[in-house]
């Protein structure tokens, strides 16, 4: 009875019939994507398929369309969106309040001043926020594998990763990016006289945010690839993403050196912000890492993407539907 009152716009999978029907199940209108694709395997699953470049373009296009659809659907309830955006901002802000409370009690942490810790916080916060905004939905894939709804995605002639990553795209996660950026800018204002700025240090700040976001995204894709085998293990990724984000907010000197070595050589999270940020701050790199490593993030990000891509392909090939 009351169901009629709910607009079906917010429920793209609903049977409502009205509203934008993103997957083209509704009547009329052009098919939303995939109309100009030649060949049955556009995502390069077969050796003779299109070039990786085409796959990437196709993936980005798919991602944009699915994300835009979800944004439209979110905007049907503007007040609700504003509220959730605000909450997302606050959640991350409380995270920062902890650091403020800590510095209400102490003057320095591991030899770092407040401005320096805020710099670490802001850089990893922005990078992680951007990765979470774009790839955060990958965590839901375990459920899709379990209930078999991933099969529908596989049937569509567009890259699977783009579909899954943009699935239920939540614009409210922008709150985390905004909060991270605010802290980063604030810390840069505080640090403007303390740091001996040079052109490579100025370029390094936006560079490490971008590379950091890519590294976090690769970790998320890698974690999602494991879901093809272990559907319930999505929380393991949290240890590296959310846990890594928390780790990188604090100076490396605080942690046991084995832990620091682990995030340099095993899961290269240290390249997200620690190594470049220490270079910007004019401090020595931790755990005996050479100082040129501060310039390595772009290459590390590329390697991470390659590994994640490989793991993803292996995962997709190993996928067995639940059959339901």
């Amino acid at each position: 009875m009351a169901e009629r009152l709910r607009t079906p716009v917010g429920e793209p999978y609903g049977t409502g019939g009205r509203g934008p029907s993103p997957y083209g199940t509704g009547s009329g209108g052009p098919a939303p994507y995939g109309t100009d694709i030649d060949g049955p395997f556009p995502y390069g699953a077969d050796p003779g398929g299109p070039s990786p470049y085409r796959t990437a373009v196709e993936g980005l296009r798919t991602y944009r369309m699915v994300a835009a659809m979800w944004i439209r659907s979110t905007m049907a309830y503007r007040a609700s969106f504003a509220l959730t955006l605000f909450t997302s901002f606050c959640v991350t802000f409380f995270d920062f309040v902890v650091i403020l409370l800590m510095f209400g009690q102490v003057r320095g942490l591991g030899g770092f001043s407040f401005a320096e810790v805020a710099f670490l916080y802001g850089s990893t916060g922005t990078a992680f926020g951007a990765a979470d905004l774009t790839m955060g939905s990958l965590q839901r894939m375990g459920r899709r594998i379990r209930d078999g709804s991933l099969d529908v995605f596989l049937l569509r002639p567009v890259p699977l990763l783009a579909q899954v990553a943009a699935d239920k795209f939540a614009l409210r996660r922008l709150g985390r990016v905004l909060q991270g950026l605010m802290v980063l800018v604030w810390s840069l204002v505080l640090l403007r006289d303390e740091v001996a700025w040079s052109w490579e240090k100025v370029l390094m700040v936006p560079g490490m945010v971008v590379c950091g976001a890519v590294i976090f995204m690769a970790v998320m894709v890698l974690g999602a690839s494991a879901l093809f085998w272990l559907q319930d293990a999505s929380e393991v990724t949290n240890a590296f993403t959310y846990g890594g984000n928390t780790l990188l907010q604090y100076p490396p000197a605080v942690f046991a050196q084995d832990l620091v070595k682990g995030v340099v050589y095993v899961v290269p999270l240290a390249f997200v912000n620690w190594l470049p940020a220490l270079y910007v701050l004019g401090r020595p790199a931790p755990a005996g890492v050479p100082s040129w490593a501060a310039f390595a993030p772009p290459f590390v990000a590329l390697v991470c993407c390659a590994v994640a891509g490989l793991a993803w392909r292996t995962g997709v090939r190993a996928y067995r539907s639940t059959g339901s």
């Binding site: 609700s80 959730t84 959640v91 309040v97 800590m102 009690q105 293990a233 929380e235 604090y250």
Partner: protein, 290 residues
């Protein structure tokens, strides 16, 4: 639509002794079901265990740095602070510090209208969910709580309670904390009767709980009035009070009674509020049809 919460025959005055036994047996069965249901997801438990342990290590080092700068911060030694970190990780799911673990399902049942079926059962809705949640908590404590605490204790050699009596006092405080958590999240879920989409309220509750439970930083470290406020709010009963009982800060005898009294007081208030919301909802709200 109106729902009778009890079938007519089970009005309290007419209830016989054996009927009460039957009800108790029923709730015990529901609780056992809650335990078994969560015990099914072993990989998820292992994954959660791993994440809790990683977070435990990360937080331990930051707390060590903080306590190195300010020994005796908030009245804790660094060994106490480390124990606090790992208690927080152990109780994360048990005391619903980041979501009660059942409210999403309850809200979904309210939203879809399945709740009508639940209300027709000859058992009380709140007690049913409370029993199921107690089973879940027992499993989470054994499956996800004990191991991180053990790993943390081996890695950092932090403060342990005073003998078996100390452990028993701690476990009792944890049990009370998990029931306070249930009462809180049940109240949150009840809001869905009016709002249908409970996400906003859940997020707000999540946020307040995370901050005021002491999950992010012990409430003792909060400055001045904020600290006093945080100590008086119900979220203090979830982590701060059990942790302080563990660390022996309430002493024995009357001190412990004070701690338990605080938890029981909030438990009574919140359960009553949940009950009031439930009866208001079932009286006034039209259940979603489908």
């Amino acid at each position: 639509m109106r729902f009778a919460l009890f079938p007519p025959t089970s009005s309290p005055s007419l209830r016989t002794c054996s009927e009460r036994d039957n009800m108790l047996r029923l709730y015990a069965t529901v609780a056992a079901g809650g335990f078994r249901r969560h015990a099914t997801y072993r990989v998820a438990t292992l994954a959660g265990l791993f994440t809790n342990t990683v977070f435990g290590f990360v937080l331990s080092y930051t707390y060590l740095a903080l306590w190195a700068e300010r020994p005796d911060l908030g009245g804790y030694s660094s060994s106490d602070a480390l124990a606090y970190v790992w208690i927080g990780q152990a109780l994360l799911t048990v005391c619903g510090l980041m979501g009660g673990g059942f409210e999403d399902e309850l809200i979904e049942r309210i939203r879809t209208g399945d709740i009508a079926v639940d209300l027709h059962r000859p058992v009380d809705l709140q007690s049913w969910w409370c029993a199921a949640n107690a089973g879940r908590c027992a499993y989470q404590l054994a499956g996800r709580g004990a191991v991180p605490l053990l790993i943390g204790a081996l890695a950092f050699r932090f403060t342990l309670p005073d003998g078996p009596a100390g452990w028993a006092a701690f476990l009792f405080a944890v049990a009370l904390g998990s029931f306070v958590s249930f009462a809180l999240w049940y109240l949150v879920a009840m809001s869905a009767f009016w709002l249908l989409d409970g996400q906003g309220v859940v997020q707000a509750a999540w946020l307040t709980g995370l901050f005021f439970s002491g999950m992010l930083l012990p409430l003792n470290v909060f400055p001045g009035a904020l600290g006093e406020l945080a100590h008086a709010l119900p979220w203090a009963a979830l982590l701060q009070v059990p942790a302080d009982v563990y660390l022996g800060r309430y002493g024995e005898g009357w001190g412990l009674v004070r701690a338990y009294g605080f938890q029981l007081g909030w438990l009574a208030v919140l359960l009553a509020a949940g009950r009031a919301a439930q009866s208001a909802a079932t009286r006034k709200v039209v259940v979603q049809g489908g």
